[in-house]
Amino acid sequence: MTEMALAGVRVLDLTRGWSGPIGARFMADLGAEVIKVEYLTDRGMASVEAPKDPTDFASVCHAAYPDNDPGKDPYNRYGPFNEYNRNKMSLTLNLTNQRCKEAFLTLVSISDVVIENYSPRVMANFGLDYQSLKLVNPSIIFIAMPGFGMTGPHRHHVSYGTNIEPTAGLSNMIGYPGPTPYKSGEAYPDPNAGLHGVAAVLTALFYRRRTGIGQFIDLSQNEAAVGLIGEALLAFDMNNEEPVRMGNRHPYHAPHNTYRCKGDDRWVTITVTNDQEWQSLSDLMGNPSWAREEKFGDQLSRWQYQDELDEYISQWTSGRDYMELMHTLQAAGVTAAAVYTNRDIVEDPHLKERGYFQEIPHPRTGPTLFSGVPVLLSKTPGTLRIHAPMMGEHNDFLLRDLVGLGEEEVSELKAQKAIVTRPPETYEGPPY
């Protein structure tokens, strides 16, 4: 059997949403034993309406159940949950219940890492902040990842990744020419916080393996995102100039843009950075007379006349297939990319050959395609071993065999609904 890099590391994952779960999943993929501790959870929507149009992205993606059917147990069928939580076990614990809290602390005493992304007050309210956990396990590594960090005047501000992208300064750099800042159509700072969280935890684990010393990590999702534009912020500090939004254009390369192709909403990006690439592009376009005009003769001049240039290139691309253009242009040494839809990524032959997407069986959704492990380690490759857990799937195993509770105690917790296998009646959707 192949060894796994993080074998023997036990992680208690209290996170919800996307940021925390994807971080804990990265560690699970590389071999850590990750126990998802959940109760009021984020396993889909509270009330599920069938989408009006099952092919309309906006109407289905917030309730992404296979075949648009939530089934009788939507909390076990929700696509994003199942995507973000594979390779993990599930233990439901109501942490306001004293017995559950004790069980949790027993787990802490035999674990290596605790990861949570609540608002700063929540773990303290449970009586489970770092200081409390340290009493039962002095070398525990505890990472808190709230929106704005554990200290400061705005520490209690609530946010999602969709708020962080604008407020960390990224939106100030995105947009068409004009005053409006744009955000991407996704909660990009979420996974960014998760992967920075992994960096912090693995650094702490490496340090602990050498010294035996654990620690507390305070990760502000906002700060983890601000550093992603560090070069632009430094430039502002040097020149005191706000960034100029210029769509997809570049401060000194042209062409550097996105061009409409054949079909509905299909685009290709093309970048030329020197005369040789320009010649290759011209050759592909059949060396039209306009391309030989003097104003397109060098990089600077092409940049000055890029409105006209983009117009000509669009005429060439508009009747052509976006994927074909990417391959033809790249084969000629011109930097180009098709603007992929979500479908294009899943069906991409390159990712297929690298084995990125993998199908694993899931008892409530059947065999399903999941995203793979994005880093390839030659001797300890990450793996997709098992589907995301059913809610509370490992309650009995974990409470009896790991925590050491007796049969009666487990039954009692079940009777009190302190441990469950479906969301409690009062569930109103993800708590934030």
Binding site: P51, A58, A204, L205, D218, E223, F236, A337, I345, G429
Partner: protein, 403 residues
């Protein structure tokens, strides 16, 4: 406090990276106390030195903001890897190194006799990470990349911008930074395993896969429901509204109402409690369908108020609402300042400037940052100190264009 030198102190990293993706990975290692030696081409150095932005838009290879930010806390030596002496010198450095990071095109390291099997034979404990746009294998491995390519081939671009206009690139160098972050995580996992196995290994990271990881919400919508991604302007296309950026009296704010409780609070905030039962605007789904109508109601309220007033009132009601700062405002941000986020660094040519700080705070040993190195600044220290060359050797190496 833990180790005053940093959590990765004692770790030696040879940094063959350039531009943005690799340098972000090694920058993080250096910030945690690893000794990172950046190996640059004699003469030109890292191409990021020539990209800028520059102070006063005046190109100077020692003053590129991209280089200065991504290479803090590192040493710089020059070495010509197109010569046999150069690669032999590198191998001597590899003997005592723990980590090697590179982001050349696939095949370049092999052409210099420095691919993983050869490197492993020099130092079997070495962890080597290779970062490229498309990975070391597969039909696109030789394709050229840049940030726009990274945004395009991973779906993020298709979902950014107005539906009737071209899709937009994201901010700055996100694809490269994310590949660097993934490489950091993978290297640390490999180092953790090395502590017990004693073995190094090779890591293959691609920008495409790192960014695809960040698009999983939309990918899941294809794998589970077969619905094609869309662009919805500044709205998050989840059929829920508002998750958007709005204009207000003195700037822009961002609101994300996801749960029914949050939208009820929003109605109270804008003094329209009647909307709670409104069939057209009462639920997230109905507001998505009638979003123009809802925006007509909320915009006049917002336009009478400042960012600060709105965010304070909204957060009191626990509505996820933040302001959208300009860079000038971001540097003044109360929360970032209260947490000592910014780092001021003095540089002999650029002067004193403020840099973005640590992505997370470790309580044993905080991130430590020193300015980026001048090209070849540490040649004497490394070649004479670590490899035992004499000053005359150094002159000879320089004359033969090896350093």
């Amino acid at each position: 406090m833990g180790d005053p030198l940093g959590l990765l102190s004692g770790l030696k990293v040879l940094d063959l990276t350039h531009y943005a993706a690799g340098p972000y990975a090694t920058r993080m290692m250096a910030a945690q106390g690893a000794e990172v030696t950046k190996i640059e081409r004699p003469g030109a150095g890292d191409p990021a030195r020539h990209i800028g932005p520059f102070p006063g838009d005046d190109p100077d290879p020692e003053q590129s903001a991209l280089f200065l930010y991504l290479n803090t806390s590192k040493k710089s030596i020059t070495l010509n890897l197109n010569t046999t002496s150069g690669t032999e010198t590198l191998k001597r450095l590899l003997v005592s190194a723990d980590v090697l990071v590179e982001n050349f095109q696939p095949g370049v390291m092999a052409s210099m006799g420095l691919d993983y099997p050869q490197v492993e034979s020099v130092n079997p404990r070495l962890v080597m990470a290779s970062i490229t746009y498309f990975g070391q294998t597969g039909p696109y491995k030789s394709y050229k990349g840049n940030s726009m390519v990274g945004f395009a081939v991973t779906g993020q671009m298709h979902m950014t911008g107005d539906p009737d206009k071209e899709p937009l690139v994201g901010a700055g160098y996100q694809p490269e930074y994310q590949a660097g972050l993934h490489a950091y995580d993978a290297v640390l996992a490999a180092l953790y395993w090395r502590e017990t196995s004693g073995k190094g290994q090779h890591i293959d990271v691609s920008v495409m896969e790192a960014m695809a990881y960040y698009h999983e919400f939309a990918i899941t919508t294809w794998t589970h429901v077969k619905a094609l991604s869309i662009r919805a302007g500044n709205n998050y296309p989840v059929g829920n509204h508002p998750l958007t950026i709005y204009l207000c009296k003195d700037g822009y704010i961002s609101i994300s109402c996801v749960t029914p409780r949050q939208s009820e609070s929003l109605f109270l905030l804008i003094e329209r409690p009647d909307l709670i039962d409104d069939p057209k605007l009462g639920t997230g789904t109905s507001r998505w369908e009638n979003r123009d109508e809802f925006d007509e109601i909320i915009l006049p309220w917002l336009m009478e108020r400042t960012m600060d007033e709105i965010v304070t009132a909204a957060q009191d009601l626990r509505i996820p609402c933040t302001y959208v700062p300009t860079f000038g405002q971001l540097f003044q941000d109360r929360q970032l300042r209260a947490r000592d986020y910014w780092v001021a660094l003095e540089h002999p040519l650029v002067g004193r400037h403020t840099y973005a700080g640590a992505p997370f705070k470790m309580d044993q040993t905080p991130m430590q940052v020193t300015r980026a190195p001048l090209l070849g600044e540490h040649n004497e220290e490394v070649y004479c100190g670590d490899l035992g060359c004499s000053k005359e050797d150094l002159v000879r190496l320089r004359e033969r264009n090896i350093i």
